[in-house]
Subunit: 251 residues, 2 copies
Amino acid sequence: MAAESQKRPISNIAFIIAMQSEALPVVNRFQLTEDPESVFPQGVPWVRYRGKYKDLNINLIWPGKDPALGVDSVGTISSSLVTYATIQALQPDLIINAGTSGGFKAKGASIGDVFIVSDCAFHDRRIPIPVFDLFGVGLRKAFETPNLVKELDLKVAKLSTGDSLDMTQQDETSIIANDATVKDMEGAAVAYVADLLKVPAIFIKAVTDIVDGDKPTAEEFLQNLASVTAALDEAVEKVINFINGKCLSEL
Amino acid sequence: MAAESQKRPISNIAFIIAMQSEALPVVNRFQLTEDPESVFPQGVPWVRYRGKYKDLNINLIWPGKDPALGVDSVGTISSSLVTYATIQALQPDLIINAGTSGGFKAKGASIGDVFIVSDCAFHDRRIPIPVFDLFGVGLRKAFETPNLVKELDLKVAKLSTGDSLDMTQQDETSIIANDATVKDMEGAAVAYVADLLKVPAIFIKAVTDIVDGDKPTAEEFLQNLASVTAALDEAVEKVINFINGKCLSEL
């Protein structure tokens, strides 16, 4: 981003939130309303909510329900597309990708933990040709927010992203190589697009299921989704209150 | 697409081609030239080549080299982004995703074979929750071209897409479930975006390596890349000559 943008207060924030059940508590918390006229092209299911909160223009983009199947458009393709289209349409000062994630108890994660992400990478893009292998992993640093982390006493973790809810042995090997504490289906894709277009991005991930635990991921995920999105929403409010009135360089 | 667009001759074609080595033979064949002023935003490495061939305006979009790593921006995220941005900027009548692929000898594929794709699906998006599982697989029909297939005597096959060059056991299970003869890293992502925005898309895939054979994929892929892109380029020329002067409904 341009240096000058770091020196004026942040005014325009875009949340990218993949699931409706993750998005709606945030929509309600900040009393956002759905845009009557979409800024996105005809045909796409992407939904923009917007509102003013303190000194901030808050946008929340949810990729919406798949037009044919009616389920949330989760995963890296939808989240990269909405990140791209959001940056083009709204030119946010800061992107916040918030959502639920799997956590690894071996790395200290528990159900309901909320993490700020330091690094994103992919664990399901194996291209065993030199340099292409690094492209596949796609390691990127999140925008650094040392003051936010310290002030709100947030846990910091590395995130690994893939398009499956489950985890194969090969995924696990890559996740360990990525040194990840949390695993999601969008983060590294949002980071990729934000990096291309030079918009700072931060990532807030709440743990719904323990990947290296005894319970099946899908079951545990669905069981904890409601309670953990409440914890996520609380953390998001604290982060927004901290951001309000500050420049990027003060985060 | 609108019904009337099927009844006038196709005029505006957009190729989406992931690798430079796949794109350049097509660029040279149709004497396309690189756009001096990008239609895409600052920061993205995407390259548009364009030219007139017979009655057709031909665009070829290559996602370009990764700005940090210098390798082709392969895979589903880049290809979905360029498909989206290309449709927004150029409103093509038809998208043609052409490229190399792995082939399964058990399904009749040999090195150098060129296939027209009937169906695309993903093999690395496992979401074991009802309906989300179908979203993950993302099965889509390519635009049907029965006359083109018959006239040019082309082989037809199903395509399975994933972000890895290799294949795990879980990938293989999904590829078999997808009944795929060819495996690539972009097709189903291009199909997803084209379907969202209601632009017809066809897929031409040439086999560089036999996935269920003895040789390591990466080695075989690199060995055959040059010769197979020549075969791909020849097939592309035949397809373009067939398309010239026809409406979508005549393909």
